[in-house]
């Protein structure tokens, strides 16, 4: 592959696009497929054939369009019209109306804040390009970042651009990406590796899955650029086996890129070679922790080990290893294309760029959103999310999954970035955002997350293995209405010991949901303990409990 060949592919693709009058884009990400968007796509194709529009109209599968609750979604590329909750029998009407007024009863309003308030960098191609065709990605400036890095930048310049961008790790902890790349680039070792962490496991989070399903090449390109910057020639992408569609698209994407010479030996005729292999997770949440993930890739039991040494120094097979999250790598190609300063111009002082969130729970518009850092929680929930359904009252928003905390109403106007979320006792996390209304019992929520941590603890270190179990028992006692003040004191003491003595991030952050709900909703705990009642009416206590026996 030469630069000319790459541009030729893009031109051919764009020409073909111009010759098509109407392109129907059907969302083929997991959310819409679960509501049978594949059947919708099929019948749209049949209708086009039936109406003899085969020459001028095209149907293509695209990635996630964001508003998952309104799926299956179908967009008309040329006019920008968006149809929601499309059934296979609606296909005829949609096809008949191509080039005329859109079908009114199916139209989804794209002027609502859900669409207008977002800023898309990571998701710029999601819902636009066909994730199964590399040509479309190339036509959307794909692999140009890699081309630029390989042909007109040296390794240090790539690292410098990433540092300049101010990008921080999107996996949750927010470590400066440029610093990590610089460290791995400097680390001494005959072989180095790049790993992409796609072991997304937080309950309610599906950002990485959507990126991998919608735009897999972007992640591959980011990894290849990373490989060039740190001096690695082999990459592994670790995806959980529960994401079969993402795995399939990734594997196909790797094959396509290899066929075109965008992965493999001497990419763009340079001395740089890079290969990527997929590794599947076997269902352990802890394998999202980098040292456990590395152990798993090595074929060992997925258990974390103490750091330091960090993977940057001793990672996969004891070689220096660059390990970043899916969304982090997905940010790299536009940073290289547009320069680090462009990226640093978006967001806040300490949080640059955008963040993808999976908006879920008691909110009208659930789905995938990408917003600039610094947007307020209120804007996300009440404008983009459309507020709380059924006239209920907002109670809290949970960010960061089992490692995060619950944020109450008083902090809704706070800016969303790493530091402000940490200040109120939560974390940015990988991007799960669960909204809760007045019908959620906060003790029950804490118990849910504690149960998750308890069953997902790898069992290596004592405080996480046994501490989470004891905390879960205590929380169960509270929700049963049989706990005492001593039990609560013991729970708080356990929070402290588990947080401070656990080996890895899973244990260190496992108490967060309890600590944050105790901080803001202590009265609910007290109501369970002293008055033996659940203010939200979720926990069955006393009489109700007897009645169910």
């Amino acid at each position: 592959m030469t630069p000319e060949e790459l541009h030729k592919i893009a031109e051919t693709e764009l020409e073909a696009k111009q010759q098509t009058q109407h392109t129907l884009c059907v969302c083929m990400a997991a959310g819409c497929v679960s509501t049978h968007s594949d059947k919708v796509k099929e019948s749209l194709a049949q209708q086009i054939e039936k109406h003899g529009l085969k020459e001028t109209c095209k149907v293509k599968g695209v990635g996630c369009m964001g508003l998952c609750m309104a799926g299956p979604l179908v967009a008309v590329e040329q006019t920008g019209a968006l149809y929601q909750m499309v059934a296979p029998q609606d296909a005829e009407e949609i096809v008949k109306n191509l080039g005329k007024q859109p079908v009114k009863r199916l139209v989804c309003d794209t002027t609502q804040p859900f669409f207008t308030r977002q800023k898309k960098i990571v998701l710029e191609n999601s819902g636009v390009v066909d994730s199964e065709r590399i040509e479309e990605y190339i036509a959307a400036k794909g692999y140009e970042g890699l081309l630029e890095a390989l042909t007109s930048m040296n390794q240090a310049e790539v690292v410098e651009q990433v540092s300049k961008s101010g990008l921080r790790g999107r996996g949750g902890a927010g470590f400066p990406t440029g610093l990590k790349w610089g460290t791995v680039a400097k680390a001494r070792g005959e072989r180095k590796f790049v790993i992409c962490n796609g072991d997304e496991g937080d309950p309610g989070a599906f950002m990485d899955r959507s990126v991998l399903e919608s735009d897999p090449h972007r992640v591959l390109e980011g990894m290849a650029i990373g490989g060039y910057a740190v001096g690695a020639s082999q990459g592994y992408i670790y995806v959980r086996a529960e994401y079969p569609l993402a795995v399939k698209r990734l594997k196909d994407a790797i094959k396509q890129a290899e066929r075109l010479g965008l992965l493999g030996h001497n990419i763009f005729g340079t001395t740089f070679s890079f290969n990527i292999e997929v590794r599947l997770g076997a269902g352990a949440f802890v394998c999202g922790e980098e040292t456990a993930l590395i152990a798993s890739v090595e074929g060992k039991r997925g258990q974390p080990r103490p750091r330091p040494p960090f993977p940057a120094e001793r990672g996969l097979w004891d070689c220096p290893t660059l390990i970043n999250n899916v969304e982090t790598f997905a940010n790299i190609p536009p940073i290289i294309r547009n320069g680090g300063e462009w990226f640093a111009g978006i967001g806040t002082e300490k949080g640059k760029g955008t963040k993808v969130f999976a908006l879920a729970g008691a909110v009208k518009n659930t789905g995938l959103i990408e917003v600039p850092m610094g947007i307020s929680l209120r804007e996300i929930i009440f404008e983009i999310g459309g507020g709380i359904p059924d006239g209920k009252k907002f109670k809290a928003v949970q960010t960061g999954g089992p490692s995060g905390g619950c944020i109450p109403e008083q902090f809704l106007d706070m800016q969303v970035d790493y530091d402000s979320l940490a200040k109120v006792g939560s974390i940015m996390g990988s991007g799960g955002m669960i909204v809760m209304d007045e019908t959620s019992c906060m003790v029950d929520v804490a118990k849910f997350f504690m149960e998750f941590c308890m069953t997902e603890s790898c069992g290596k270190c004592v405080p996480c293995r046994v501490g989470t179990k004891q905390m879960h028992e205590l929380l169960s006692k509270i929700t049963d209405g049989t706990a005492t003040d001593e039990n609560l004191a013991m729970l708080e003491e356990l929070c402290d010991v588990v947080k401070n003595t656990s080996l890895c991030g899973l244990g260190m952050t496992a108490p967060n949901p309890v600590v944050s709900t105790l901080r803001y909703f202590r009265d609910e705990y007290m109501a369970h303990i002293h008055d033996h009642r659940c203010p939200a009416g979720v926990c069955k206590i006393g009489k109700e409990q007897l009645a169910t026996v």
């Binding site: 103490p306 997902e456 069992g459 290596k460 270190c461 293995r465 046994v466 179990k469 010991v497 080996l503």
Partner: protein
């Protein structure tokens, strides 16, 4: 530079509990503390095996570090200021022991290792006289299918010493861990009865390194299971050969 000069390890100086001490750069905080007569409690650590930092008893405070660090695995650095016995550390260590005692069925009076158990001794040494957490009483099996040895999961603290000695010293890797969280169990081969294990060489090293009464020789009654210390000898022999 000649090759032997490259091998030379540099020397570091640091403070442990306010006392100035010196160390080779490849030593851990635990090594140096022991050399200087400073006691740091350990359970999963065993000289001669790769440290894993699992029991969390050896956590120490290091000035400037946000986190507590496991002494068994943390290498010394110049000017480190280490505290091994602060009030918080003592509290955490006792709580961790309590958690261990509440996890499985540690009934000392009827245990083969009564009086020779590292968990029991550690609890006595650290002054754990009550277990405040509710006992979890899991139902766990005893596997006595091996000719000479038996494994009683009720006493296991998952220190992984057996796993490591079998892999690193004997080279058989018969033992490993299955399951997650409190459901974790040490297993032989692919979780088959020990007596049917094809990789086990019946060397008995795992039995000798077990800190509690989990792995024991058959025919020992309550309190009769004592251990031989062979790893320090092996380590010494290896070092001398170099």
């Amino acid at each position: 530079m000649n090759p032997s000069a490259q091998k030379t390890l540099s020397v570091k100086t640091l403070q442990i509990n306010g006392k100035d001490v010196s160390a080779r750069e490849d030593q851990t905080i635990l090594d140096v503390a022991r050399e200087n007569g400073v006691f740091i409690p350990t359970l999963c650590n065993l000289d001669g095996l790769t440290p894993v930092g699992a029991c969390r008893l050896c956590l120490v405070e290091v000035k400037g570090s946000r986190r507590l660090l496991p002494a068994c695995i943390t290498q010394v650095q110049d000017n480190m200021e280490v505290s091994t016995n602060t009030e918080t550390l003592v509290k955490y260590r006792k709580m961790i022991l309590e958690l261990l005692f509440a996890e499985r069925n540690h009934v000392c009076s009827v245990c083969v290792s009564n009086g020779h158990c590292e968990l029991q001794a550690m609890a006595q040494k650290l002054g754990v006289d009550h277990i405040r957490y509710p006992y979890l009483y899991p139902k766990l099996a005893v596997d006595a299918s091996h000719d000479r040895f038996a494994v009683d999961h009720n006493r296991c603290i998952l220190c992984q010493r057996c796993v490591r000695v079998c892999d690193e010293i004997e080279g058989a890797h018969t033992w490993d861990v299955q399951g997650r969280g409190t459901a974790s169990l040490v297993i032989t081969d692919l979780n088959q009865p020990w007596g049917t294990s094809e990789s086990c060489t019946s060397c008995g090293k795992c039995v000798q390194v077990c800190p509690t009464g989990t792995l024991f020789e058959k025919g020992r009654a309550s309190g009769e299971m004592t251990k031989r210390e062979f790893l320090p000898y092996l380590t010494l022999m290896r070092e001398e050969r170099v």
